[in-house]
């Protein structure tokens, strides 16, 4: 791995950590306050690509595991991984990978801005919502014995917020690509 890639990964991990320190935002039409940190996860894939984005997320999880309060709300330490919502943390890794994987393939510089935005949105939605919730809900069901259908219903309230985040991640991905393109990933 080039030093530049290592630094890009570390800096983006730092961005994800910084986003966790921002207070949750309450939008009027969504019942649950949304935290900015999972937005950072989607953006990691959209901005850095699949490989670097995934490693950035893994780095954040490592920092949490070794006892640093990097998760939103100042959470950290191994105890965080004992919670039933750990599936979402595991899901972050695959969400970043999926978003990056799709973004690398769907988006190109020749496309008009709108097409790029839509492509990023699809990538962020499939990665940051579909894949993420698949992991979160499945883990919850496995660990607590709650049937998947009920676990899904329990998580429903959070989905609108994450769809909004996918939209923001798409806009950010497109804007960053215009200003400092890191996609397509050069070998």
């Amino acid at each position: 791995m080039t030093t530049r890639d290592l630094v890009l990964i570390s800096l983006f991990a730092a961005i994800i950590v910084a986003l966790g320190l921002l207070p949750p935002i309450t939008l009027g039409f969504i019942p649950v306050p949304i935290t900015a940190q999972s937005l950072g996860v989607m953006m990691a894939g959209a901005v850095l690509g699949a490989k670097r984005g995934t490693i950035a997320v893994l780095l954040v999880l490592l920092l949490a595991a070794i006892g640093l309060p990097v998760l939103s709300g100042g959470r950290g330490g191994l105890a965080v991984f004992a919670a039933p919502t750990t599936g979402y943390l595991i899901g972050w890794v695959f969400a970043a990978f999926t978003t990056g994987f799709l973004a690398e393939r769907l988006v190109s510089h020749e496309q008009p801005g709108l097409v790029q935005g839509v492509s990023f949105f699809i990538a962020a939605l499939i990665g940051g919502v579909v894949v993420l919730y698949a992991f979160g809900i499945t883990y919850l069901a496995l660990v607590t014995g709650i049937p998947i259908s009920k676990a899904f219903l329990g998580s429903l309230a959070f989905i609108p917020g994450d769809v909004v985040k996918s939209f923001v991640a798409a806009l950010v991905g497109r804007a960053v690509m215009a200003g400092y393109p890191l996609l397509p990933v050069r070998a």
Binding site: L6, A14, P69, V143, T144, G145
Partner: protein, 211 residues
């Protein structure tokens, strides 16, 4: 950013990180194999004893775990509503025990010790040419180093928005933050390479030199 490590000299502090992590892994497996509320209650009692004996004031010790315990409680309630009381109790006890043991390991193991342990564990990956083990410690150090700068930059961008009378929108705040931060990457990478921090097989030499 303060680590969750708590200074002390208990037996748990003196145990090696590897022993603690392996023990935690073994305890996790045992906890998930058991479905008996009695065994699991015993585990919770054991975990609480270990964790609360570390010397932290009770309020502070539990305060750290507040969000995790709250999540566990909510999920246990959901389980009670959807499954049986026994299922809910098993889930509650099992996860609470795991939380207490995990928190005890975190409180008694320093960040540096963890990194040393992980670097050692990653050596086999180095021979497989997947990664350089010492890069992990370097990456962790970089993140810790740059989080404050990113927060400062975010504050500056917010101020700039206010000075121009612009509404604070996630999009207009995040984009400059990301672009400006990533543009630093080239300079930082050059500085790292100039100091030879990533030369193959020479990490040990530069370990004790200051930046």
């Amino acid at each position: 950013m303060n680590a969750l490590f708590v200074e002390g000299d208990s037996w748990l502090h003196r145990l090696s990180p590897r022993a603690k992590l392996l023990a935690l892994m073994a305890i996790s497996i045992l906890l998930f194999l058991s479905r008996s509320p009695w065994v699991l209650s015993g585990a919770v009692a054991a975990g609480a004893t270990v964790y609360l004996q570390l010397g932290m004031p009770f309020g502070k010790a539990i305060g750290r775990l507040r969000s995790v315990l709250l999540t566990i409680a909510i999920v246990a309630l959901l389980s009670f509503a959807v499954n049986s009381a026994e299922d809910a109790l098993v889930a509650l006890l099992r996860l609470t025990a795991l939380t207490l043991f995990a928190a005890a390991v975190t409180a008694t193991t320093g960040v540096g010790d963890f990194i040393d342990e992980i670097t050692l564990a990653a050596r086999p990956l180095e021979t497989l040419h997947i990664l350089q083990a010492a890069d992990i410690g370097l990456a962790v150090g970089l993140v810790i180093r740059f989080v404050p700068e990113i927060l400062n930059r975010y504050a500056a961008i917010r101020e700039a928005h206010k000075a121009r009378g612009l509404p604070l929108r996630p999009l207009t705040l995040a984009v400059p933050l990301i672009i400006l931060t990533l543009k630093d990457a080239d300079n930082i990478a050059a500085a790292i390479d100039a100091r030879g921090f990533r030369r193959q097989g020479m990490h040990g030499r530069t370990k004790n030199s200051s930046i």
